[in-house]
């Protein structure tokens, strides 16, 4: 079945530095990938989404490019802020059944 892998459980960075959170996936369908962000004690919210190969998508300073050749959808930001501290989930929508598969999540901690 479909699966999503996020390799980092915790990433700690000093503000102003760049970040890349890894996401790889497996599916037999045409992929539709998402990044959700969850701040402490809040609901997950959509950050980015894409189903277009090799096209960069951006929102709130974050960006990601879906690469079907490597089954990846890594999340990046050029300069992290304290307010970016949150839990980030990569998710894959299974085609035809509207079932989403989530990765385990990566906690980003930004320190001053």
């Amino acid at each position: 079945g479909d699966s999503v892998t996020q390799t980092e459980g915790l990433v700690t960075l000093t503000k102003g530095l760049p970040v890349m959170l890894n996401c790889t996936y497996q599916t037999t369908y045409s992929p539709f990938l998402f990044w959700y962000v969850q701040h402490l004690n809040e609901a997950p919210k959509l950050l980015l989404k894409s189903s277009t190969d090799n096209k960069r998508t951006e929102h709130q300073g974050f960006y990601a490019t879906l690469h079907k050749s490597s089954s990846s959808f890594h999340l990046q930001k050029s300069s992290v802020q304290l307010s970016d501290s949150a839990l980030y989930f990569c998710a894959l929508e299974g085609r035809g059944n509207y079932k989403y598969v989530f990765g385990a999540g990566t906690r980003l901690k930004v320190i001053a």
């Binding site: 459980g9 989404k49 059944n97 385990a104 999540g105």
Partner: protein, 114 residues
């Protein structure tokens, strides 16, 4: 205003008691979900509902059942709760159609089973 509302937000139950978690949405979305969130495991799908009385098991349905009698309302029921069902439960909804993507999440219901 697009909103998914969950009740109750916090709940403490004893093992063996029944639990009812309720979810409502005001967007007329056909598809609704129940997930549980545990540290290191991400969000795990319990049940998906494609519309009224059209429910399908997710990845971890054991110990849970659902009810959807109105499009805007989706309930999660735990008959005889167990301590390993202590978790944060999220309801979500999705607009219809392909490539419309995103889930809209409620704020979660934190359940503790003693």
């Amino acid at each position: 205003d697009m909103k998914v509302t969950q009740m109750p937000r916090y709940l403490i139950k004893r093992m063996g008691e029944n639990v009812l978690l309720e979810c409502g949405q005001d967007m007329s979305h056909e598809t609704m979900y129940w997930y549980r969130q545990d540290p290191g495991l991400g969000l795990q799908l319990i049940y998906i509902s494609y519309d009224v009385d059209s429910n399908s098991e997710g990845d971890i349905p054991k110990g849970y059942r659902v009810s959807r009698k109105k499009r805007e309302h989706f309930s999660l029921i735990l008959d005889s709760a167990k301590t390993n069902q202590t978790s944060v439960y999220f309801c979500a909804s999705r607009p219809g159609g392909a490539n419309t993507g995103q889930l809209y999440f409620g704020e979660g219901s934190k359940l503790t089973v003693l």
